[in-house]
């Protein structure tokens, strides 16, 4: 299959790659670039484990072809902490026990980051509905919600 040149900006690093048009962004991130923090839970865009941020929006990377995001800014879970400091959302997931097996966690953290960046003033109920695109099978969501609310609170007071 013919490969196409793409330029992916992932976590600030530029990658000039030749990829087949059938490869998803998820496959490119994991298999080509080697960033395996983003997880594959369903391959159909239903579970949110593969959520990454593309130009400020949360996308399920299993539903995006790699060739369509050339030149866009992509952030994955590996790019969230800066200078060895965890992002407040990452810290909140630790503090509240907002993860168990951890497989859905990268996706939840990336989705939460976009929600909190967009509007940290959401109510618990609003966060509850806004996170409905991500599935967690371990926590029952109680502590994930606590984490997101804690992070939103921190980001609100910091800004």
């Amino acid at each position: 299959m013919t490969k196409h040149p793409v330029n992916l900006k992932v976590n600030g690093d530029e990658h000039d790659l030749l990829i087949e048009p059938r490869k998803t962004l998820l496959a490119v991130l994991r298999d080509t670039i080697g960033l395996t923090g983003t997880k594959e839970g369903c391959s159909t865009g239903d579970c949110g484990a593969c959520t990454v941020i593309v130009d400020g929006k949360a996308v399920t990377s299993c539903m995006v072809l790699g060739v369509t995001v050339s030149g866009k800014e992509i952030t994955t879970i590996e790019g969230l902490a800066s200078d060895g400091e965890l992002h407040p959302i990452q810290q909140a997931f630790i503090d509240t026990g907002g993860y168990q097996c951890g497989f859905c966690t990268p996706g939840f953290i990336m989705a939460s980051k976009v929600l909190v960046d967009e509007n940290p003033n959401r109510t618990e109920e609003e966060f509850r509905h806004a996170l409905g695109g991500n599935i967690c099978r371990c926590t029952g969501y109680t502590k994930i919600l606590e984490a997101v609310i804690q992070a939103a609170e921190e980001i609100r007071t910091a800004s």
């Binding site: 490869k23 298999d31 395996t36 923090g37 965890l86």
Partner: protein, 766 residues
């Protein structure tokens, strides 16, 4: 104020940073150089004869490096189907290719000729003589035929004198032709007391049939295995599994390879819930493909494959009968259960006895059968079999309470067993916290003051479970900076490594942060039981305690030597050994002792813990839900969900709450949403669009209440906490819906359409 400083604390987990930064390595993240991608070729029909498998076209596709079928299994053990497939998605072949898309293309090029056979999906159909047979024509007797045949057998010893009686019984037998069961995979029968007599003494007897669907554990990480066979024959397997040692022996047994030639490396587990012990599912195909291709191979299931060929929890049909006096004493209970074991034997038929619950029921009889259907086999799912049996038992209890006009909580409290009471068909009760736990949830939920508007209702149920126990080994060593290292072989199952670390930090009186824990592979670590059955904190906690105590002994020995005093004068406290009799105070830090130890005859501080078995203590989970049912749409909204659990002792309360909350939501989903659906073509909802699992939008916050009645043999009194919380939720929800709409739904899940239908049939609405 707790007498402990590390155990009992809400501490962040030891794997916190790797889990929130994406650094944790799961099975699919393993990528050895030269790795190929595996793909399993699966049956497109649920029941068919295989006429031919032609791999020639697939072999020609560039990038394909190996194709295997059952012919490539030297031991002959069934890995792939050959002549007949028994379920949709059953493996027939496997491919390894240089790219996952090429492997998928190759799978499409394998030509399989089928002769389609009629299939059976329902246990009540499968037992009939009209049903297609999966394995043969052998039959088993139902309960009445069993007892009649037993009498005939007894009388046959004196055929001559008993011939008339025998003939009478043979005529009687004819009445029960519908009790000749086909497609039976297993059976179990338990009896205590005399149920017939018991029912005669009852004022109220209720009978109903409960139908519980097959559901998938739906761990978020699909099964995956990376296998690498080197030229010497040594096999390395990176496995997403709950039990690396079980996988090692499973591969050895299936392929006839010595244990010493197999090393299993357990990768961080993306959820298991009992469903991650299977050997054939991905591990064996990965090994065979690596052996044939000479390259490492990753076999990773898609979510669709998980639904078709995972090993989900069995569905079942339970016919249950319960009787009580008008004063509220339960006197008898009888169950006849058919468990859907799929194409193989198994299913949790032994759990049917759990219909006894935690009650003093003097007369009980249980007949349970595993029934073959054209579906994949089943496996454990969080307290295997208990949610199903307890759903039936606790639903029916509410019906009895209603008939005799008793409050459901009071009715349960009145019948609950206490220490020393005999357990129906099973020993006597140790010290348990049944009543405390139920009272705790009733108080926390506001049960006694409960109010309900129109279409609202409250439900309560309890479920019991006893953690398992198994072998484990732990090493602990103290280093010259005073840090402590733990080495062991058990898979972390959502927080167990943290519990082990807390226990060792507690005993060695060092800061939690100075202790690190490392899991070895099966080549290096001491043998450890699999991480299932709520065993880990109980087993590895005890093991860790023994290891730390062993290190503690060596520490005092060294300190006595170094400080020139008797061990009796010494105390380990705050990471240093102190001479209690010294004035001015005299002490030596653990780091100094560890450094000193390096030049002693006895050597470094290494503690060893090894443990296998101690009696466990039952734990109760009690839950209350308040719901509101919309009579027009049939939708049930949860207004309140409160869960209490006797955990013995919460080593990390944050982790324990997490287990309760997660278990309750899984139970909620089983009650209200989840169901693997089948028709004559096999499973019809193999994905998250049609098999809905709950999201954060479906439920309110679960309130958890921790009750601590210590287990005599648990580490610090801890009981296994993972499984109990799912056990009562199915019934809790059904009882709440009943209270809201006045109609008992005894067939799960309680989907909106079912509620609308039930309301219509009872004269509600249009």
């Amino acid at each position: 104020m707790s007498e402990y400083s590390v155990v009992g604390q809400k501490l962040p987990r030891v794997d916190a940073v790797e889990k929130v930064t994406g650094a944790a390595q799961y099975g699919a993240d393993v990528h050895p150089p030269g790795m190929l991608y595996g793909k399993i070729v699966r049956s497109k029909h649920p029941h068919a004869n295989i006429l031919s498998i032609d791999t020639s076209e697939a072999e020609k596709l560039p990038g394909v490096r190996a194709i295997i079928t059952q012919d490539d299994v030297p031991s002959g053990r069934r890995v792939f189907a050959t002549h007949k497939v028994l379920y949709l998605g059953e493996p027939l072949a496997a491919i390894a290719a240089t790219d996952p898309d090429i492997a998928e293309e190759a799978a499409e090029l394998i030509k399989i000729e089928y002769e389609i056979l009629p299939s059976v999906q329902d246990v009540t159909e499968s037992i009939k003589s009209s049903a297609p047979r999966l394995h043969g024509d052998e039959t088993k007797d139902g309960p009445n035929r069993r007892s009649i045949n037993a009498k005939i057998k007894e009388l046959s010893s004196d055929q001559e004198n008993n011939s008339a009686e025998i003939r009478k019984l043979e005529v009687e037998l004819e009445k029960y032709t519908d009790e000749v069961y086909y497609n039976i995979s297993a059976e179990t029968h338990t009896e205590a007391g005399d149920v017939e007599k018991g029912f005669e003494e009852c004022d109220v007897v209720v009978e109903d049939t409960y139908v519980i669907p097959r559901v998938h554990q739906t761990y978020m990480e699909p099964h995956v295995s990376v296998a690498s066979a080197d030229s010497s024959g040594k096999i390395t397997v990176w496995a997403s599994t709950q039990g690396p040692f079980a996988i090692r022996s499973g591969i050895a047994g299936t392929l006839g390879i010595p244990l010493t030639q197999i090393n299993v490396i357990g990768t961080t587990m993306g959820g298991g819930f009992g469903g991650r012990f299977g050997v054939i599912i991905t591990h064996v195909p990965a090994v065979l493909l690596s052996q044939k291709s000479g390259r490492p191979v990753r076999v990773q299931m898609t979510r669709e494959e998980e639904f078709l060929d995972g090993r989900p929890a069995p569905g079942c049909v339970i016919k249950l009968k319960t009787g009580a006096t008008k004063e509220g004493h339960i006197l008898a209970r009888q169950a006849l259960a058919f468990w859907d074991s799929g194409s193989v034997s198994g299913a949790s038929i032994g759990s049917t006895i759990r219909v006894r619950g935690v009650y003093k029921i003097p007369n009980i009889k249980v007949d349970a059968y595993g029934v073959h259907t054209n579906k994949s086999g089943t496996a454990a799912y969080r307290a295997p079999g208990a949610p199903q049996a307890i759903f039936a038992g606790e639903s029916q209890l509410d019906e009895i309470a209603e008939r005799i006009g008793m409050d459901p909580v009071e009715f349960r409290l009145m019948n609950m067993r206490e220490e020393g009471d005999s357990v129906p068909a099973g020993g006597t009760e140790p010290k348990v916290g049944y009543k405390e736990t139920l009272e705790a949830v009733a108080n926390a939920a506001g049960w006694w003051e409960r109010e309900a508007d129109e279409n609202q209702g409250w439900g309560v149920a309890v479920g019991d479970w006893t953690n398992g126990c198994g072998p484990g080994g732990v090493y602990v060593s103290v280093h010259e900076d005073g840090s402590v290292r733990i080495f062991h072989g058990s898979m972390d199952i959502t927080g167990t490594d943290t519990a082990i670390t807390q226990i060792i930090a507690e005993i060695l009186t060092v800061p939690y942060q100075s202790v690190t824990i490392r899991r070895g592979d099966t080549d290096s670590a001491p043998y450890s039981t699999g991480s299932g059955g709520s065993v880990v904190t109980f087993t590895m906690g005890n093991t860790a305690k023994l290891a730390a105590e062993d290190a503690h002994r060596r520490i005092l020995e060294l300190a006595a030597e170094r400080l020139n005093t008797d061990q009796d004068n010494l105390e380990l406290k705050d990471g240093a050994v102190h001479v209690v009799t010294a004035d001015p105070p005299k002490s030596i830090s653990l780091g100094e002792l560890a450094a000193y130890s390096l030049s002693t005859t006895g050597g470094p501080i290494v503690g060893k813990g090894s443990f296998a078995r101690q009696p466990s203590t039952p734990a109760l989970a009690a839950q209350i839900a308040k719901v509101e049912v919309d009579p027009d749409t049939g939708r049930t909204r949860v207004l309140k969900l409160v869960a209490s659990q006797d955990v013995g002792f919460a080593i990390n309360p944050m982790a324990v709450e997490g287990q309760i909350e997660g278990g309750v939501v899984q139970g909620y989903a089983w009650a209200m949403m989840e169901e693997m659906q089948y028709n004559e073509n096999g499973n019809v909802n193999p994905g998250f669009v049609d098999y809905r699992v709950p999201t954060s939008a479906d439920l309110p916050t679960v309130e958890s209440v921790i009750v601590e009645v210590p287990a005599p043999n648990g580490p610090y009194g801890a009981k296994g906490v993972g499984e109990p919380p799912i056990t009562p939720t199915l019934a809790t929800m059904a009882n709440a819906v009943k209270d809201a709409i006045g109609i008992r739904v005894s067939e799960l899940p309680i989907k909106p359409e079912k509620v609308v239908e039930a309301l219509k049939n009872n004269g509600h609405g249009a």
